[in-house]
């Protein structure tokens, strides 16, 4: 079954440095790091203390609120350090990998098991961490029953890894994962693929496929949900990243938690943008310096894409959910009369002496400058042009800022995740931090309403 979803509102941000479709094996990283902050709102209870040896797939910590929910190590090795922040919060768990990788054997899983067994298996093997839920954009509550599960197989974000390429040849794993997931919901597993793609996700059984087209955020899972079956009060949907289905699938088929992932190294600062095969939590440095960036260059390295990713140092680590590393120049310099001169080398949705409308196909080399100072909300109508959901973006942002729970609920807070507001944040004339505002709003609702 296939349905077409076409959106008009949005903005394709075309940047220089798209990854070339050639995969290299990254230099095997010595140390790996798992950061509990990647799992928003989870309070970790540490199992593996400093100095213990773990196998790949062995539990590192579990969720304080649900002991069954384990978080596992991507590699086998020795835990050398547990970095702690204020109030003994766990910041990172560092693992030095063994030369020879050993895996915990969870056994081949019977794909025809019932929902309870599936849940227990996914929770125990650490695969549950890949399943997120909306409302609140957090790891799914294992006791909830989603009305549907959504997977986006089309990456429309700037410099995103091409999922058709990274998932090629993984049909068996993808099929196993969706077969199992489809038993956890009364509805169906909705999968989106690009209009003209030959995605391995397009021909899976037990799914509803949607062909999406249009500018970014057509590939965001939030857009898919809103167009297929918007979330109402009291309902839950789950979302899984397409690349994480592969890990779930492989675990089900072989019993091994294989954290391998194909990651795009992209961005205008990278000499030779391309794909790497690496593992969750590996050192960024193993990828960015080889034909990548200069050692002392003034660049920003982002684990994730340029709209939603996290800033990391060159000594940082790939985060748990990302499949792209973006490197763009820092913009910490002044620009003479930058606020009134005609601008040809930056993207803008207006035409106020900005000329990106002349040449919509051009690729840009954007840096991290904010292009202006933070201000109160002034202009109206700009967000709506890039926001395809049936929600009033400015009003919901303001509701979050003044913490009116009733209004946030009425305006559609259950349906959104911070990433849905990445484009409105990009075009914001007042340079307001939209994603942060939404995240804090969601956290408040989670705390107050739950």
């Amino acid at each position: 079954m296939s349905k077409d979803i076409r959106i008009k509102k949005g903005l394709d941000i075309k940047l220089i440095g798209e990854a070339e479709k050639a995969t290299e094996n990254a230099i095997i990283s010595n140390s790996y790091s798992i950061r509990p902050e990647d799992f928003h709102s989870i309070i970790p209870k540490l199992v593996a203390k400093e100095g213990t040896r773990v196998k790949a797939g062995e539990t590192l910590f579990y969720n304080k609120d649900n002991e069954a929910m384990k978080f596992v190590s991507p590699v086998s090795g020795e835990i050398t350090e547990v970095q702690r922040g204020p109030r003994r919060r766990i910041d990172a768990i560092k693992i030095v990998a063994d030369k020879e990788q050993t895996y915990v054997d969870y056994g081949k899983f019977d794909l025809s098991s019932d929902a309870e067994k599936i849940k227990a298996h996914l929770l125990a093997t650490g695969c549950w961490s890949f399943i997120k839920q909306r409302p609140y954009d957090v790891i799914a509550n294992a006791n909830s029953k989603p009305k549907a599960i959504f997977v986006s197989g089309y990456a429309s974000a700037p410099l995103a890894a091409d999922l058709d390429f990274t998932l090629a040849g993984k049909e068996a794993e993808l099929q196993a994962a969706v077969t199992v997931l489809s038993k956890l919901t009364d509805g169906s597993v909705h999968v989106s693929v690009g209009q003209n793609s030959n995605s391995p996700l397009a021909n899976l059984n037990n799914t509803t496929t949607h062909k999406v087209s249009g500018p970014h955020p057509s590939g965001n899972v939030g857009t898919l949900i809103n167009k297929v079956s918007p979330i109402n009060k009291g309902e839950t949907v789950w979302t899984v990243n397409a690349q994480d289905l592969v890990i779930i699938g492989e675990l089900l088929l072989t019993g091994k938690f294989n954290a391998e992932r194909i990651v795009a190294l992209a961005g205008s600062s990278v000499k030779k943008p391309r794909y790497f095969k690496t593992k969750i939590g590996s050192e960024i440095a193993t990828m960015v310096y080889d034909n990548g960036v200069e050692r002392d260059s003034n660049d920003r390295i982002i684990s994730g894409n340029v709209l939603t990713g996290k800033q990391v140092g060159p000594d940082g680590f790939l985060d748990y959910y990302s499949n792209v590393i973006s490197v763009i120049p820092e913009g910490d310099d002044y620009e003479l009369f930058g606020w009134n001169k005609p601008i040809f080398n930056k993207i803008s949705t207006s035409r106020a002496l900005t000329f990106s409308w002349l040449n919509p196909k051009k690729k840009y080399d954007l840096n991290t400058n904010t292009n202006g100072e933070h201000r109160a909300f002034v202009t109206t109508g700009t967000y709506e042009e890039v926001f395809p959901l049936d929600i009033y973006p400015m009003q919901i942002l303001k509701a979050c800022m003044y913490k009116d729970l009733d209004e946030m609920e009425a305006l559609g807070m259950y349906e959104v995740a911070p990433e849905d507001f990445a484009l409105t944040e990009f075009v914001c004339v007042s340079k307001q931090p939209h994603q942060k505002i939404i995240r804090e709003g969601l956290d408040l609702m989670l705390k107050e309403i739950g």
């Binding site: 800033q311 002044y334 207006s350 202006g372 109508g381």
Partner: protein, 402 residues
């Protein structure tokens, strides 16, 4: 070490000082700041508030320059020293003499408006410890364009202080105000000094001081004359369109306002929805009044006859409705913020403007009152527009449970 690094070092050295927002305001006029993104998106679009405001100012500059020429032209014309210009490029209009008079009269208005207004902004920014916001850049340009040319400077200064403090700063500054600050200033002038701001003397430079002397000249506007059933003072439609008529400094040339409007719409800075719907609103009210006249309900003896019988489309080129629709009603902070709301908001502005114009002959220009009124109602309009979205969401739940 260039200017750039000197300024940077100065900023870093003094970043804890209380007056640093004042320095930053000037610094950021020279240089786009070196601020980088943290958290959230790592890249940002090219536009900032300064650029947006600057675009509006650029759209206003032709009106300002035209206003200078017109001030001088009207001054000489009223004294009978020059012939009336024929059309927009008339020989007696674009002359150096006209410009010099206009410059001497209008430039002080601009300087006072910006000087006083920005001083207030700087003081509030320093007191509250935030950056100087750009809102006044446009307001400061609008104010000289919507006052009579002979307004005393002290009066303007008082009004600007009132308008910025009461109209904007008490609400929390740019982005928080309910009323359009430029119109608040205009309204203050109108209600505090009514003898100055209306009547038939103030619209041409020199008319006031000559009143009652043998050299007396008329300083009346077409609108004022129409309101008293005296016809259009001999100006024809093209005069009104090109703008070579008496009026507030910058709002007479409909031609240049339309150019400005096209520029604002093209740059996506001004809302075409508001501009178009305001014009539709004005035309509809005009049509209704024309209908009333045609039906014979209001006779020639009525004091409303003069303005009611103006063909409906001519309302757009008389008075300052066009200026109001393009530059005032579109202020994003005080207008409706939803796209549907903008249609309603604009339509009502146009509609009410013409209504006030016809029914209030003592002061026939109703645009600024209409916009201020709709500023107050804009949040209400938005409320109902958003309610429709909320209802749609509620309905989804009901369909589900039913």
């Amino acid at each position: 070490m260039g200017l750039k690094s000197n300024l940077h070092n100065f900023k870093e050295k003094n970043k804890d000082k209380k007056w640093i927002p004042a320095f930053n305001a000037i610094h950021t006029f020279l240089y786009l700041p070196n601020e980088t993104t943290h958290g959230g998106t790592h890249i940002k679009a090219a536009d900032d508030l300064k650029r947006t405001m600057n675009t509006v100012i650029m759209a206003l500059v032709p009106c300002l320059i035209f206003g200078m020429f017109n001030a001088g032209y009207q001054h000489y014309l009223a004294q009978g020293l020059i012939e009336s210009a024929d059309g927009f490029l008339g020989a007696s209009f674009w002359t150096w003499d006209n410009f010099v008079i206009g410059l001497w009269k209008v430039l002080p208005l601009v300087i006072i408006s910006y000087g006083v207004g920005l001083a207030v902004e700087f003081v509030f920014a320093i007191i509250k410890g935030h950056e100087v916001e750009e809102g006044y850049l446009v307001t400061g340009m609008l104010v000289p364009l919507i006052v009579p040319v002979d307004i005393p400077l002290w009066m303007l200064a008082v009004a600007v202080i009132f308008g910025v403090v009461i109209g904007k700063e008490v609400f929390g500054g740019t982005g928080m105000n309910i009323l359009n600050p430029a119109l608040t200033i205009r309204a203050f002038l109108f209600f505090a000094y009514p003898t100055w701001m209306s009547g038939d003397k103030v619209w041409v430079h020199g008319a006031v001081e000559r009143a009652g002397t043998p050299d007396a000249i008329s300083g009346e506007t077409i609108l004022g004359s129409l309101a008293q059933n005296n016809g259009t003072l001999g100006y024809d439609i093209w005069d009104m369109f090109w703008g070579i008529i008496p009026g507030s400094v910058g709002e007479t040339s409909k031609f240049l306002i339309i150019i400005g409007a096209l520029f604002l719409i093209f740059t996506k800075v001004g809302s075409w929805r508001i501009i178009i719907s305001t014009l539709i609103g004005a035309l509809s009210m005009g049509l209704i009044f024309n209908g009333v006249i045609n039906a014979g309900w209001v006779g020639e003896s009525s004091k409303f006859f003069g303005l009611m019988s103006v063909p409906f489309w001519q309302h757009l080129i008389i008075g300052s409705i066009l200026f109001g629709a393009v530059y005032m009603a579109t202020d994003p902070v005080t207008a409706s913020q939803t796209n549907k709301g903008k249609w309603i908001y604009g339509f009502l502005i146009g509609f009410i403007s013409i209504m006030i114009r016809v029914f209030n002959p003592a002061y026939p220009e109703g645009v600024f009152l209409a916009i201020l009124l709709m500023n107050v109602f804009a949040p209400t309009i938005d409320h109902y527009v958003i309610k429709a979205n909320v209802k749609r969401r509620m309905k989804r739940v009901k369909v589900k449970t039913a």
